[in-house]
């Protein structure tokens, strides 16, 4: 069962990457990546990294790719109506459906030794890797400030 789910997700990722590479329009490429990252989140969940799988679906598929999609629509300068991106949406529905069915069937870790404890992760970030954590927050602050400066600059 887990093998079947993995190969289904593998096929979805391969199909999404095919659309990403060969689509003629930018927004088709970007939308297909929502399916790729959702399916990849499912693969992580199958490996036992359920928290990371959730992060991938929420952060990558839900936030990063959608931000890209908004810029893609800005680039193309056309409205959303009349766009034929139904194949990409079809892939997204299948990948999210596979993940939901995994949840309903009860996700079992393939590698039994994988620790999925979020508290262990928190202890690691606020203990051993505290400086890395603080440096990362500094980097995010710098990125936010620099993107604001870039956007405010007049040509």
């Amino acid at each position: 069962m887990l093998d079947l789910a993995f190969w289904l997700l593998f096929l979805l990722i391969a199909a999404g990457l095919g659309i990403f590479l060969f689509a003629s329009e930018e927004d088709k490429s970007v939308v297909s990546l929502v399916a790729v990252f959702s399916a990849l989140g499912g693969v992580f969940a199958l490996m036992g990294y359920t928290f990371l799988g959730g992060i991938y679906v929420l952060l990558y598929a839900g936030a990063v790719v959608v931000a890209f999609l908004m810029v893609a629509w800005l680039v193309s300068g056309r409205s959303r109506e009349g766009r034929s991106i139904k194949w990409a949406f079809f892939l997204i529905f299948i990948s999210l459906g596979t993940e939901l069915s995994l949840i309903f069937l009860g996700s079992r870790s393939v590698f039994r030794r994988v620790s999925t404890s979020v508290s262990a992760l928190g202890e690691l970030f606020l203990g051993k890797y505290l400086y890395v954590f603080e440096l990362t927050s500094l980097l995010i602050l710098t990125a936010v400030v620099s993107s604001l400066v870039l956007m405010r600059r007049r040509s």
């Binding site: 593998f10 490996m47 990371l52 790719v65 890209f68 994988v114 890395v132 980097l139 995010i140 956007m151």
Partner: protein, 99 residues
């Protein structure tokens, strides 16, 4: 699901990312190709570390994701500026964007 299958998936993601970076001409999909390749590298890292230190690998992947998200914020701003100034965001515009 064996480690070999996971490495195969990782190789697929990295190859597609590298191919996309060189095949596509627009900055947006070139940047996204980098993200795809990075995801493949994350997957390989997790598979390698599963037997020894899975929690630390998970922490490393989350740190990588955060850095990638910061990179995306700056790159999207640069692409939006390129669109505003030049009307397009293709690879030939990138060479004109030096400070």
């Amino acid at each position: 699901m064996s480690s070999t299958a996971l490495f195969l998936l990782s190789a697929l993601l990295i190859s597609a990312g590298i191919a996309g970076f060189f095949v596509r001409k627009d900055l947006l999909t070139m940047l996204l190709s980098g993200e795809v390749a990075l995801s493949g590298a994350n997957l390989a890292l997790l598979v390698f570390a599963t037997r020894s230190s899975p929690t630390e690998a998970q922490a490393a992947v989350i740190a990588i994701l955060t850095v990638a998200a910061a990179e995306v914020a700056v790159a999207l701003a640069a692409i939006a500026v390129a669109i505003r100034d030049k009307g397009k965001a293709t690879e030939d515009i990138a060479s004109e964007m030096k400070g």
